[in-house]
C-alpha cells in the first residue's frame, strides 16, 4: 500500500497520500483505509481457500483416492469450508466495500465508532490467524459444520484452536454490524432520508441486522462444543447425556441467516450496478429496499430445512418448508425488478455490468434450485449430496463472489484513483462465468444421481461429471488469477481515474477519486432521490 501512496504523491491530498508509514495504516481510524486492510486480508484468505478447492478438484478427477489420503482429503474440504465461509464470504463485501462506502454514500465523515472499526479488523486477523494455524499445522477434519458428537468426541486435529478462532472472529462480525447500524441510523447527511438511501446501504443495513442478532448464537454454540470437547461437559453428545440434534438447530439458526449475510450485500451491489449501467433509476426501488429487510427477518425462521432427515418432527418440517418458500419470494421480486430496470434503459456492458447480469443469471439458478431443497420429499433424496454443493456454490460463488467482483470493479477507480484495463477485465469476467458454470452445473446431475458430499473415494459411474467439474475449476482458477494481475498493474501503471468515470449519480461519485481523508470538504445536503438520471417530471408509468 506504500506504493499506492507513492504513485499519487504529486496529486492533490487524498486518504492514501496523507501519510505513508506502516504505522499510519495499522493504527488508522479512517474507514477507507480499514476497508483496504480488510480487502488485503480477505484476498489472502480467498487465495488459500481457493488452493484447497484446487486440490480437492484434482483429487476428484479419478474415483480412487490417489492424490492424498482420506484423512488429508477431509482436512482439505474442512479447511476450504471454514476459510471461505467464516474468513472470506462473511466479511467480504460488508467489511471491505461496505466499510469504504457507507460513509461516502450517506454523506458522513466516518463510521460512528472508528476505533471499534479498527478493533474489528484486529479481531478478524487474530481469529483468522488462529484458525489458519490450526488448519495448516495438524489440520482439522470436522467439516465446517462441526457436527457433534463427531467434532466433540471423535475428530482428530486442532479442533479447539479453530473453534476459538471462529469465536473471536464472531466478535469482529458483531462489532462491524453494530457499527454499520449506528452509522446508518445516526450519521446520514441532512436530507438523506431512509428512502433516499442507495440500495447498497439498504442491503448492508439488513446484513448488519443479521450479523448482530445471529452471530452471538453461533459463538455460544461453538463455545459449548469446545467445552464438551475440552471438559467433557455433556451438552450435545448422547454418551454424556446430551442431544446431538440440538447442536444442529443452534448451528443452523446462525448458519442459515449467514447465507443472507453473504448474499444480501451482493444483491445491493447488483442494484447499484444495474441502475448505473442502464442509466436509469432502479425499477421498484422501495420493493428492492424492503425485500432486503424481509429476507433478513424471514431468514431467521427457516433453519429447520437443514434438518428434514435429522429426525425432526414431520410437522416442524412442514412449517420450516413453507417458511422457506416464503423467503424465496422477496428474492424473486428483486430479480424481476433488476431485469425491469434494464427495460428501455441505456445499457452499457462494462465489466461491472457483466458481473451484474452474471449475478442475476447465476443467482436465479441458485435460488430456484433452493426450491428443490425446501420441498421435503425432494430434499430427502438430495440433502447431503452434490446437489446441495452445487446449489450453495451457485449462491455463494455465483452470487456472493460475482457481486464482490462486480463491486470491486465498479468502485476500484474510486478506491485507488486508477483505471484498470477494460479489455482484460471483461475477458476475465467472461472466463469466470463460463468456468463457474462448467465447474458447478455438472454437480447438480451428480447430486441427483446420488453422489454424497464429502466423499474422497466415489463410485466409478460418477467420474464423467467429476472430470467436467474439475476442468471447469481450472478455467475458473484462471479467471480469478487475471484480476490479481490487472488490478496490481492498474495501481502502478493505470490511467488516472476521474471523479465519476461511469456517470453515476451516487454521492460517492460526486467527490474526488481517491477521496479526501475526511471524505467531504463540507457536509453535503441531499435534496434529491438517489438515482436522478432523468428529470423526475419525465416519468413513464407501466402497469
Amino acid at each position: 500500500m506504500e506504493t499506492v501512496a507513492t504513485a499519487v504523491e504529486r496529486e492533490p491530498r487524498t486518504y492514501l497520500n496523507v501519510d505513508h508509514t506502516l504505522k499510519s495504516w495499522l493504527l488508522t481510524e479512517d474507514h477507507k483505509r480499514i476497508g483496504i486492510l480488510y480487502l488485503i486480508v480477505i484476498t489472502i484468505f480467498f487465495a488459500i481457500g481457493g488452493l484447497f478447492a484446487a486440490l480437492i478438484r484434482i483429487e476428484l478427477t479419478t474415483p480412487a483416492g490417489d492424490l492424498v489420503e482420506s484423512s488429508v482429503y477431509n482436512r482439505l474440504f474442512t479447511g476450504h469450508g471454514i476459510i471461505m465461509v467464516f474468513f472470506f464470504l462473511i466479511p467480504s463485501i460488508p467489511a471491505s466495500l461496505g466499510n469504504f462506502l457507507i460513509p461516502l454514500m450517506i454523506g458522513a465523515k466516518d463510521v460512528a465508532f472508528p476505533k471499534l472499526n479498527l478493533l474489528s479488523w484486529y479481531l478478524y486477523v487474530i481469529g483468522g490467524s488462529m484458525a489458519l494455524t490450526a488448519i495448516i499445522y495438524g489440520g482439522i477434519d470436522t467439516g465446517w459444520t462441526f457436527y457433534v458428537p463427531f467434532s466433540t468426541g471423535y475428530a482428530s486435529g486442532m479442533v479447539m484452536l479453530t473453534l476459538v478462532g471462529i469465536f473471536i472472529n464472531g466478535f469482529s462480525s458483531i462489532l462491524t454490524g453494530l457499527n454499520f447500524m449506528v452509522t446508518i441510523h445516526r450519521m446520514r447527511a441532512p436530507g438523506m432520508t431512509w428512502f433516499r438511501l442507495p440500495l447498497f446501504i439498504w442491503s448492508l443495513y439488513s446484513t448488519s441486522l443479521i450479523q448482530v442478532l445471529a452471530t452471538p448464537v453461533v459463538a455460544v454454540t461453538l463455545l459449548l462444543a469446545a467445552l464438551e470437547r475440552g471438559l467433557h461437559i455433556g451438552i450435545f453428545d448422547p454418551a454424556l447425556g446430551g442431544d446431538p440434534v440440538l447442536f444442529q438447530h443452534l448451528f443452523w439458526f446462525y448458519s442459515h441467516p449467514a447465507v443472507y449475510i453473504m448474499i444480501l450485500p451482493a444483491m445491493g451491489v447488483t442494484s447499484e450496478i444495474i441502475s448505473t449501467f442502464s442509466k436509469k433509476e432502479p425499477f421498484g426501488y422501495s420493493f428492492i429496499a424492503l425485500s432486503s429487510l424481509a429476507i433478513a427477518v424471514f431468514g431467521f425462521i427457516v433453519w429447520g430445512h437443514h434438518l428434514f432427515v435429522s429426525s425432526q418432527s414431520v410437522y416442524a418440517g412442514m412449517v420450516f418448508s413453507i417458511l422457506s418458500y416464503l423467503v424465496a419470494i422477496p428474492s424473486a421480486i428483486k430479480v424481476f425488478n433488476w431485469v425491469s430496470t434494464m427495460y428501455k434503459g441505456s445499457v452499457e456492458l462494462t465489466t461491472p455490468m457483466l458481473y451484474g447480469i452474471g449475478f442475476i443469471g447465476l443467482f436465479t439458478i441458485g435460488g430456484l434450485t433452493g426450491l428443490f431443497l425446501a420441498s421435503m420429499g425432494m430434499d430427502v433424496h438430495l440433502t447431503d449430496t452434490y446437489f446441495v454443493i452445487a446449489h450453495f456454490h451457485y449462491i455463494m460463488v455465483g452470487g456472493a463472489i460475482m457481486g464482490f467482483m462486480g463491486g470491486l470493479h465498479f468502485w476500484w477507480p474510486k478506491i485507488t484513483g486508477k483505471l484498470y484495463s477494460e479489455t482484460w477485465a471483461r475477458l476475465s469476467a467472461i472466463i469466470i462465468f463460463l468456468g463457474f458454470n462448467l465447474t458447478f452445473f455438472p454437480q447438480f446431475i451428480l447430486g441427483y444421481m446420488g453422489m454424497p458430499r464429502r466423499y474422497h473415494v466415489y463410485a466409478p459411474e460418477f467420474q464423467v461429471f467429476n472430470v467436467l467439474s474439475s476442468a471447469g475449476a481450472s478455467v475458473l482458477g484462471l479467471g480469478y488469477a487475471l484480476p490479481l494481475v490487472y488490478f496490481l498493474w492498474s495501481i502502478f501503471f493505470g490511467k488516472k481515474a476521474p471523479a465519476n468515470p461511469w456517470g453515476a449519480t451516487g454521492l460517492e461519485w460526486q467527490i474526488q477519486s481517491p477521496p479526501l481523508p475526511e471524505n467531504f470538504e463540507i457536509t453535503p445536503v441531499i435534496t434529491e432521490a438517489p438515482y436522478h438520471y432523468a428529470p423526475s417530471e419525465e416519468v413513464v408509468h407501466v402497469g
Binding site: 483416492g65 482420506s70 484423512s71 477431509n74 467439516g143 463427531f150 475428530a155 446431538p244 440434534v245 442509466k279 436509469k280 433509476e281 425499477f283 421498484g284 428434514f308 432427515v309 429426525s311 414431520v314 418448508s321 418458500y325 424465496a328 419470494i329 424473486a332 421480486i333 424481476f336 425491469s340 427495460y343 428501455k344 434503459g345 441505456s346 445499457v347 452499457e348 456492458l349 442475476i360 443469471g361 439458478i365 430456484l368 426450491l371 428443490f372 420441498s375 421435503m376 420429499g377 425432494m378 430434499d379 430427502v380 433424496h381 447431503d384 441427483y448 444421481m449 446420488g450 464429502r454 466423499y455 466415489y458 463410485a459 459411474e461 432523468a534 419525465e538 408509468h541 407501466v542 402497469g543
Partner: protein, 347 residues
C-alpha cells in the same frame, strides 16, 4: 449397479422413487422456465437498449403495484405446489406401513451392521425381498451416520442414543448402492454397501441358509439371562420384583415418578438399558446400574426384540415365544430395564 455409458438418473427401484422423480420433473421445468425467461430478457434488453453515441438519457419507468403483486403471486403459487407435493411425499416416507418386514441397522465408523429378525446378520450388505414393505430401525454406536439408497430416493440420519426409521418398497430386483450420507470421519466414503433386492423365493432361501443361532428375540433372551437382568426384572405375568415386570409392557404407557408417562418402544427400552436413571417407573427405586459399555448396540437391539416378545404384545401379530408362566400378580404395567427376582424364562 452395472453401469453403462453416461447416466443422468439413478435407477428407479422403489415406489417412492417414482413419486420423487415426478416432483423432480416439475421442479426442473419451473427452474428451466424462469432461468430461460430471465436470461432471454437480459439478452434482449442488453442488445435492444444498448447505449449508442446518440442515446439520450432514458426516462424513468415506474411500475404499478399490480405488477409487483403479479410477479410475487405467480412464484408463490408455483412454490406452494412444490411445498404440498413435497410434504405429501414426505408424509408417506415417514410413515412405515404397519405390516412392514422389520430389519435392524446399526451404524458405526465405518460399517453398516444389519440384523434380520430371523437371526441372520450381515455387514455392508442388505438382502431384501422385492415387492415387500421393508422398515429399517436404525441406531449408531458412535457418531451420526445416514443410511442412503439413491435407487430408492430415500435416506435418514442414524443417530447415537436413539432409533430412527426408514422404509421402502423395492420394485425391481438388482443390486443398489448404500451410501453413508452424513460425514462421519476418515473413512466416511468407505462406509458403503449394497442392497440386494431378490425374488421372494430366493430371499427365503438366502434367509434360511447360513445358520443363524436363533431369532433376534431368542438371542435377546439369552443375553437377558447372561447379563443377569433376570435377577430383578420378572418376565412372567403378575410377578412383582425389585424392578418392573416386563410381561406385556411393549407398546403400553408407563407412569413415571415424575408424573409423566412414556410408551414402551425401542427408544425407551434402549435408554433404560444404557441410561437407567433417566426415567424411573412410579413405584420403583432408582437402583439399576447402566449397561452402557457392557452391551453392544446390536445387543440392545436383541434385548429390545426380546422385550417386545414377552407376553401378549398389543396389536402386534405373532407376539413370539411365549414365556413360561410362573409367579404372582404384578403391578399393572411394569416397564423396561429395572430389577425383579430371578425367574428363568424359557419358551
Amino acid at each position: 449397479m452395472e453401469q453403462k455409458s453416461i447416466q443422468f438418473f439413478p435407477e428407479q427401484a422403489s415406489t417412492i422413487a417414482h413419486s420423487v422423480d415426478g416432483l423432480y420433473l416439475y421442479l426442473v421445468l419451473v427452474t428451466a422456465f424462469f432461468s430461460i425467461l430471465i436470461a432471454t430478457l437480459i439478452v434482449i434488453f442488453a442488445v435492444k437498449y444498448r447505449r449508442r453515441a446518440d442515446t439520450p438519457t432514458p426516462k424513468a419507468v415506474h411500475g404499478g403495484l399490480w405488477l409487483e403483486i403479479t410477479w410475487s403471486v405467480i412464484p408463490l403459487g408455483l412454490s406452494m405446489v412444490m411445498f404440498a407435493w413435497g410434504a405429501s411425499i414426505f408424509f408417506t416416507e415417514s410413515r412405515p406401513p404397519a405390516d412392514s418386514m422389520e430389519i435392524y441397522v446399526t451404524g458405526k465408523q465405518w460399517m453398516w451392521k444389519i440384523q434380520h429378525m430371523e437371526g441372520q446378520r450381515e455387514i455392508n450388505e442388505l438382502h431384501i425381498p422385492v415387492n415387500r414393505d421393508i422398515k429399517l430401525t436404525m441406531t449408531s454406536e458412535d457418531v451420526i451416520h445416514d443410511f442412503y439408497v439413491p435407487a430408492f430416493r430415500t435416506k435418514s440420519d442414524v443417530l447415537p442414543g436413539r432409533y430412527t426409521t426408514e422404509w421402502f418398497h423395492a420394485t425391481k430386483t438388482g443390486a443398489y448402492h448404500i451410501f453413508c450420507a452424513e460425514y462421519c470421519g476418515t473413512k466416511h466414503s468407505g462406509m458403503i454397501g449394497t442392497v440386494y433386492v431378490m425374488e421372494p423365493q430366493q430371499f427365503d432361501a438366502w434367509l434360511s441358509g447360513g445358520g443363524g443361532t436363533g431369532t433376534l428375540a431368542q438371542k435377546g433372551e439369552a443375553l437377558f439371562s447372561q447379563l443377569g437382568c433376570v435377577t430383578c426384572h420378572q418376565a412372567t405375568a403378575d410377578v412383582k420384583g425389585r424392578c418392573p415386570n416386563l410381561h406385556g409392557i411393549w407398546g403400553r404407557p408407563q407412569q413415571l415418578t415424575t408424573g409423566a408417562s412414556v410408551t414402551v418402544d425401542a427408544g425407551y427400552v434402549s435408554e433404560s438399558i444404557l441410561n437407567p436413571s433417566a426415567k424411573i417407573v412410579a413405584g420403583y427405586e432408582n437402583i439399576m446400574p447402566t449397561f452402557s459399555g457392557l452391551v453392544t448396540a446390536e445387543g440392545v437391539t436383541e434385548l429390545v426384540e426380546y422385550v417386545k416378545s414377552i407376553g401378549p404384545a398389543p396389536g402386534a401379530p405373532g407376539s413370539a415365544p411365549a414365556p413360561a408362566a410362573k409367579g404372582a400378580p404384578a403391578a399393572k404395567g411394569a416397564p423396561a430395564a429395572k430389577a425383579a427376582p430371578a425367574a428363568t424364562v424359557k419358551p
